[in-house]
Symmetry: D2
Subunit: 133 residues, 4 copies
């Protein structure tokens, strides 16, 4: 199961090397994760305000395979790989057509919105992430 | 009275046109305003947490005179132009040596940190802004 | 004639005040201008590579009327106000539903891609900007 | 041998969670790498314009240990771990006083500035990286 989200490269995303600046792919990946959660039925401001939880990044590994350039139309993907009690691991890619540009692995922790301490992922989220067989 | 703050141009600041992206000068200007307030004795996290006030931008006018490029060493200036009951007007410039790159005018409002409603600038800040004659 | 473009507010756009950081609205406005040019038939990488021209911002005036927050669905508008020989003036707004958040006026200059010197806006662009009566 | 560079957290760096946005630590790390190269005697615009080389990031691994907040004074470190023919591996940390916030490992490739194809690291750079015994 893979969720994908389109991202257009604007001037803001590029640098004087003529390519997308390396940190900005992490913005693209976060947008795709936000839209993936929305597609599953979860608005993060509601999760924060009504359930006092936020998903934060604990670890990223990113391989930069090929550069994106100004005006490129990209596709950012999210695949859920592992569900822990208080964490998730997703794999993400950024591609331009059939060309893979980025391959990444992101560990997300579920934390309380005030103290950023780890908390268990609520059951109503787990059940959306783990579709019944 | 003019306060100045040095800013180095890194890759993150530039775009594929080979110059600093136009929105990023507003980051440089905000850094200089933050350091100007610090030089006057005010830490903005203390202002927010202990005095419940934040300074927010109400209006900016920016003239882009010449581009900055990767690796440039810039100087960002702040000059206080007007003090109102709940607002300040500052003029700001960004320069590379004797070359003016940016000329700007920024209106700041003093607001309460929770609702962003205008509040009077506290007397202890006004007295620091208006040195005795 | 008003062109509009949707923008979603992600974590990257916000700051610790809980609102969209003031410089980031200039990114939203540039995205809308890029999409407006695309809707008129112009890809900026083609303009740069085949016609050696780039549109750069010469001046912005921005009034910050109300803050956008995380997860907001915004609409960014572009209206052409004036056409000069080597420049354009557009008015732009950012709104959340019927609530105006930003009102801006942006002066764009047509420059050569190498030296950033002003050049006349090519006739094929002018004719697209000025629809026949 | 460890090179360190101070970074102040401004509003631009934070997000509505009240902490530094996760992608922005990669900006901090790139600033420290740029200053490390400068301290070794290398200006990247000179490397690009006169030697036609650019260092680009091939891979990053980042562990987010604790969040930085608005106004924090951080220290970003760079330690060279491995020198290959056309690549370098550095370890980087971001700390606030004695508290480690970020631990990262970054692989940099030396590429030609036009095509981004790998090229050997020039001898004059290698000799600066590998001090004589």
């Amino acid at each position: 199961m893979k969720f994908t989200w389109p991202v257009r490269v604007y001037w803001e995303d590029t640098d004087a090397g003529g390519v997308v600046y390396y940190a900005n792919y992490l913005k693209f990946m976060e947008r795709a994760r936000s839209e993936w959660l929305r597609a599953l039925g979860f608005e993060q401001d509601v999760l924060r305000d009504e359930h006092q939880i936020v998903f934060v990044v604990r670890r990223v590994e990113v391989d930069y395979l090929a550069p994106a350039r100004f005006n490129d139309a990209l596709e950012v993907a999210v695949s859920l790989k592992r569900i822990g009690g208080a964490s998730l691991v997703v794999e993400q890619t950024v591609a331009r057509g059939v060309t893979a540009l980025i391959a990444a692995r992101v560990t997300l922790a579920c934390v309380d919105a005030a103290q950023f301490k780890p908390v268990k992922i609520p059951a109503f989220i787990l059940s959306a992430l783990e579709p019944a067989p």
